[in-house]
Symmetry: C2
Subunit: 199 residues, 2 copies
């Protein structure tokens, strides 16, 4: 046994793996999930098709990771934006603005993450994504109730409904053109009222 994987090789492997995920994300942001053949991803990563399979057992596994990565980034952005505010009202505003702003910035990616038809195994990851958003929001809602800024209510349910409303309001604009200028403020008001933020 003369060959044993060394640090340098492991670093290169790691880099390849990351490059594959990044490439997949790029292809998805450009052509949607529909354009994401394994060959296209490999090509973008400057690797052979077969090499992808040295890092991921199946295409679904690769894209599960892609979705997980991209989703985490989105959730983080929203979490960070909310953390800068103090009242629940301001936090919800921050969430809506961040979510919509980012979605409209890269519409193709947002559509893929939110609504595009994908492999069922990848679709499962989407549910996790949405639940992650809901969890963040549920935390703020619960705290709002505790502080007396919001009336008593089921934070989980409220958060889920918020996420649904947000996503739905974005899907239309994403698939066809751009959102009207009133969309984001209108949505903010709507969601504030839904939660029972005192006017």
């Amino acid at each position: 046994m003369v060959y044993r994987s060394t640090e340098r090789v492991r670093a290169r492997l790691d880099a390849s793996r990351r490059r594959i995920v990044a490439a997949a994300l790029e292809v998805m942001a450009e052509h949607g999930y529909a354009g994401c053949t394994v060959a296209a991803v490999a090509n973008r990563a400057a690797l052979a098709t077969g090499t992808v399979y040295r890092h991921f057992p199946t295409k679904a596994d690769l894209f599960a990771e892609v979705f997980r990565t991209a989703s985490q980034r989105e959730v983080d952005a929203v979490t960070r934006a909310a953390a800068l505010e103090t009242t629940v009202a301001d936090r919800v505003t921050a969430v809506v603005e961040t979510f919509c702003g980012r979605a409209l910035q890269s519409p193709r990616l947002a559509y893929a993450l939110l609504a595009e038809p994908v492999d069922p195994a990848v679709d499962a990851e989407r549910l996790v994504f949405r639940r992650a958003y809901a969890r963040v929001l549920a935390g703020h809602v619960a705290e709002g109730i505790a502080r007396g800024e919001l009336p008593p209510q089921d934070p989980e349910l409220a958060a889920t409904a918020l996420v649904g409303a947000l996503a739905e309001a974005m899907v239309g604009p994403l698939s066809a053109g751009v959102a009207g200028p009133g969309t984001v403020p209108g949505l903010t008001t709507f969601l504030h009222r839904a939660l029972g933020v005192a006017p």
Copy 2:
């Protein structure tokens, strides 16, 4: 030219076509869109695979019609339920209860119509479906504003957000088990507040 299609034949053709759509709907309600191969649908309709293609140019066309039919039925049910009520609050309650009740009654079908990964061409039909719901709701919202039962707001946007909240709140329960008992009333309250129904 001795043969010319007669009334009887045209009736039989029509019946076949309808039987194909009905069969597709049945298969979808049982096994989801994933289980809907053309062969399975034809089999259920007691026809040969090839016959399907004498009625629909492609599978996507067939399922576009299936979605259209099923969606119309759902929208009609909701419309009818709302029409029995007078105040906006009661109408929204009726919509939520009807929507959720029907969805939970045939969860596999509801999941297919709302969220299951489908062919992109069929997915387009889904957007129409959701917009149809939104249109119904937007009408009620607009009337509510006119009557002074609701504060001024963009009825389209509000309706879209309502539909999103409803759909999202149902997807969880549909994919895994049943809805908790508090879901429907909780959702109703949430949506009333969102619209600004006077408490």
